[in-house]
Symmetry: C2
Subunit: 248 residues, 2 copies
Amino acid sequence: MTESALHHRLRALNYLRDDDFDALDALLKHRETATSGDLVVMEEQDMHRTWVLLDGWTFRYKSFEDGRRQVLNYMLPGDIIGLYSAMLRRSDYGVEAITPATLAVFPSTELIEALAHTPRLLLAMSWIAGQGERMLDEQIARVGRRAAAERMAHLFLELHVRLLKLGLSREAASVLPLTQALLSDTLGMSHVHANRCFRTLTREKLVALRDGQLVLLDTGKLAQRAGFDAGYLEESAVPLDTVQALKT
Amino acid sequence: MTESALHHRLRALNYLRDDDFDALDALLKHRETATSGDLVVMEEQDMHRTWVLLDGWTFRYKSFEDGRRQVLNYMLPGDIIGLYSAMLRRSDYGVEAITPATLAVFPSTELIEALAHTPRLLLAMSWIAGQGERMLDEQIARVGRRAAAERMAHLFLELHVRLLKLGLSREAASVLPLTQALLSDTLGMSHVHANRCFRTLTREKLVALRDGQLVLLDTGKLAQRAGFDAGYLEESAVPLDTVQALKT
DNA sequence: CGCAGATTTGAGATCTGTCAAGGGATGTGG
DNA sequence: CCACATCCCTTGACAGATCTCAAATCTGCG
């Protein structure tokens, strides 16, 4: 089994043991693939499964009866989809693939069982869940309290930093597989206004469309433009005394 | 020890045993009180503790350098503050009491330890975390994709339904301890506009200010006004097969 | 009484949405 | 190869929503 982004992320925690990883690997046996536009999770669908995104981009969203849609967050390799599936009867959200994607999928009950027997893995999963919640917090603040163009620049930087941490991008720039319609649904604005904001950033030479791809040109200036502080993305190690408690 | 809102909430799950509750009670020994306006958690503060709100209202927020502020969610009795504290070095958010409040407080490491030894409690806590995330999701959709007055009506209903479930309100109406400034920071609008939306709802006889208190007059019409669907607040029981996995 | 905080309102500037239309790229079927 | 459809990006014009600035009222409190 190849080393997945999740493995890499967990290994950085520096306290999981081989048998913890064995328990994880046992979950990740079954694979699924999705192509761009495929639904991984349908809204209102019964959720008995959990996914680990191994490769590709997906996003989680809610849609309204009248067609409006709100993107909640983006999931990149190493992210977990449906961590709470075992606890929730139905999903309130949908998950769709942006790029071709590979996922590991398993019954949520198996996750619960695994966590119940490997407390260090439990700690690690909680840490991942905590990371996810911090990004949801920031999405709320972004949509609620930032100006439209700053919202966009801020989102770009969040994704850039996440890609950097995953080794999927270079320091200077990132390429994002996002359409302006998707951006507008993420940032809570019309697609026309999303285009206006994007064009503004383009004229400022901060971003560009090259061969139909969204390219970040100057992440430093973007950060300044957005008032971006990557603190909420820091994957700080767990304090040692917390780990001590789990030396079974 | 009196039966807390958290106990009541967990008891409704119908699968926790006495020893699970014992483990919980062991955590809840130490109490804190806060008065209106007190900070329970400071932004940027080191977080080694977790709180269980026993009584009163608090809210969680992020603030910007320039004074802007975004409320992320409201916490009512039975809610947990800092569930991920053990994993995160610093808090990215603050927590402030709206009303006089009583909280149980304990080192986050104790929570981890307790969860590692009582898998059913782990499942229950994950369930609570899942509830919390569903409300964050809805807050994103509310702020991102609803019109201002609908945002407000929608928030009112979320709080009303939560109060109902807690037995802290009557079916017909609720009284909310929120100022319009706080509402504006929750809904992502200026306090002037919050007032205008509120006045609109007032003129429609859906809400009122009585003796300085925010009163919901007609939750049925409010729900219609907001396109409110309480589905995301349903605390559905865990499927039986999930629980089976934990019959140790 | 004076002060601080909360609510309320008006006026004008600015932001954002809707409607409408056009262009470019891509893919499919004939 | 062309005709056509589809999807995405782009722009202009106008209407409507929302923000900022400013000021007035009210309440509770010391």
